[in-house]
Symmetry: C2
Subunit: 314 residues, 2 copies
């Protein structure tokens, strides 16, 4: 069977990302365990032969693809750096630390040697910075293409792994760093994965759920929002990158910041913010809203239906 | 920088696969540990926080790429099956067993829904057959492309991991199954990874080195051949798939059979073959030659320089 169709209704673009993910779950059936041991979170939690002994093993995989995640304006070193950092951000979002990586490249035979040198040197420099040995990989030919896929193995830093599930009505919503303008500012490749911050948050019992922001706050916040509730976010609280606007902060994507929810009273949220500022004085932490019952009045909160994050296969 | 060049001398095609691998080692430097903890074998051996306790963890990554590893003549279910089986073959070649897999897809938005359903169902059926949970993955857009990359985690089945290094002059060379004609016969997607056989061989102390055949015997045998020695292979001993010839058996690639070396006298090789036939009566095992000193007379052996396996980026 030819894999592509020119009849739009037959294609994955027509299905859209959410429905496609539902179908994949159905197609995989029992071959895919339920989250967090299957798809649906930043990392998968690996089945361990010694459950309860040692730190929980984690795995995540993310690519960089020419024409999608980088173009000719991005230096090859930056592409290599970005490939590892994207995956480190996923490990950070579970409160983990990285152990080792493998990288698989699909390369057109016309790829420039000096492009590839820059890519590998950027990847290696970032790997040394984070103490991640590159233990193996694969090289294959793809005519006309350039895809680098990195699989990152890691472990939880403490007894608890923070997943995307766990938030309740009443929880505060907080975010690290500033949002929006990732592409224009070069943040999308030079960001610092929030590994120390993620591990620190995972050790605090009041943190109920966490993820990294990759497709834009307006889209990603739905992932943390439990059924029969809504995220009440306040536009004037949002930490926006200088030179960008509220819409950019909600929709641009590739922020690679931690988005998380925390239990408790306002005083508990204030204590967390104060402790964070002492521990991470150079990284902003902002409480941007709260989870409310689905029917609650929405006065003054952002109308999330007016903003869209990054949609795959669009 | 634009990643592609129309000046052939600037490209990875001009460099060729072997030189490219040497360059990559240099570019990665200390970010890549030495084999078996870095590139250079069928799987990488993972650094373990509890060295000496439990079975050695292994990891391997291999893709299937439209236009390279499959075309329109291969059913989508077969593509999904092949993707896992290729990686299982690498785990088998180290004497390991699989634990879990993640799969990353780069997809053109025009990919047919029914193609993708077939792919995932084929992958899932194979995963259930081998007891490998698909624990996570990633979906990304690649305009004009279709790449599926699977990373497979596993563990050694015994205290010993068999690598590609370890063969000595005097060792016999043996191969499982029959060789050649993989594409024409459909073997390239419907083969059975030699997991039971690899684990059985890894438990035998006389096995000195092992790999899986993917690029053709004439090319892959050099990987097992230590310095200052040569592989003396006998054409009339080679197990050739029916309807194919010696050249096909040496050059076609995608055999996914185990190629290994064993120490000792001819009687030890005979004992191994006899034990194999009792244990695996349906899988041929053939002693095809021996490692000789580099300068030894080559009467009657195959001139390996006259045959070439699959060359990447050619």
């Amino acid at each position: 069977m030819h894999p592509f169709s020119n009849n739009p209704s037959d294609t994955i673009a027509a299905l859209g990302e959410q429905k496609l993910l539902q179908r994949i779950r159905r197609w995989l059936g029992s071959a895919m365990p339920a989250a967090p041991h299957g798809m649906g979170d930043d990392c998968a939690v690996l089945p361990s032969p010694r459950a309860g002994r040692g730190r929980t093993p984690l795995v995540t995989v993310d690519p960089v693809i020419y024409g999608e995640h980088f173009d000719d304006s991005v230096a090859p070193r930056a592409v290599g750096q970005k490939l590892l950092s994207r995956n480190l951000s996923d490990i950070a979002a579970m409160g983990g630390r990285p152990n080792a990586a493998v990288v698989a490249l699909a390369l057109d035979p016309r790829v420039r040697i000096d492009w590839l040198e820059g890519f590998y040197r950027g990847l290696a420099a970032n790997a040394r910075r984070h103490g991640v040995p590159l233990v193996g990989g694969d090289l294959a030919t793809q005519r006309g293409g350039l895809v680098a896929t990195l699989t990152l193995l890691g472990r939880a830093t403490g007894p608890r792994v923070i997943t995307r599930a766990g938030a309740c009505v009443g929880d505060f919503i907080a975010v690290s760093g500033v949002l929006g303008g990732s592409l224009a500012s070069g943040h999308h490749w030079k960001f610092t994965p929030r590994l120390a911050e993620g591990a620190w948050l995972a050790a605090r019992p009041e943190i109920s759920a966490m993820m990294d922001l990759s497709d834009g706050l307006a889209k990603d916040i739905h992932t943390l929002t439990p059924p029969r509730s809504r995220a009440a976010l306040f536009g004037d609280l949002l930490p926006i990158r200088g030179g960008h606007d509220l819409h950019a902060a909600l929709s641009d994507g590739e922020d690679y910041e931690l988005l998380f929810t925390l239990r408790g009273e306002p005083a508990a949220a204030r204590r967390l913010v104060a402790a964070w500022r002492k521990k991470f004085p150079r990284v902003p932490l902002t409480v941007i809203g709260r989870l409310e019952p689905a029917g609650a009045p929405s006065d003054g909160t952002i109308d999330l239906t007016a903003h869209h994050g990054f949609e795959h296969f669009g």
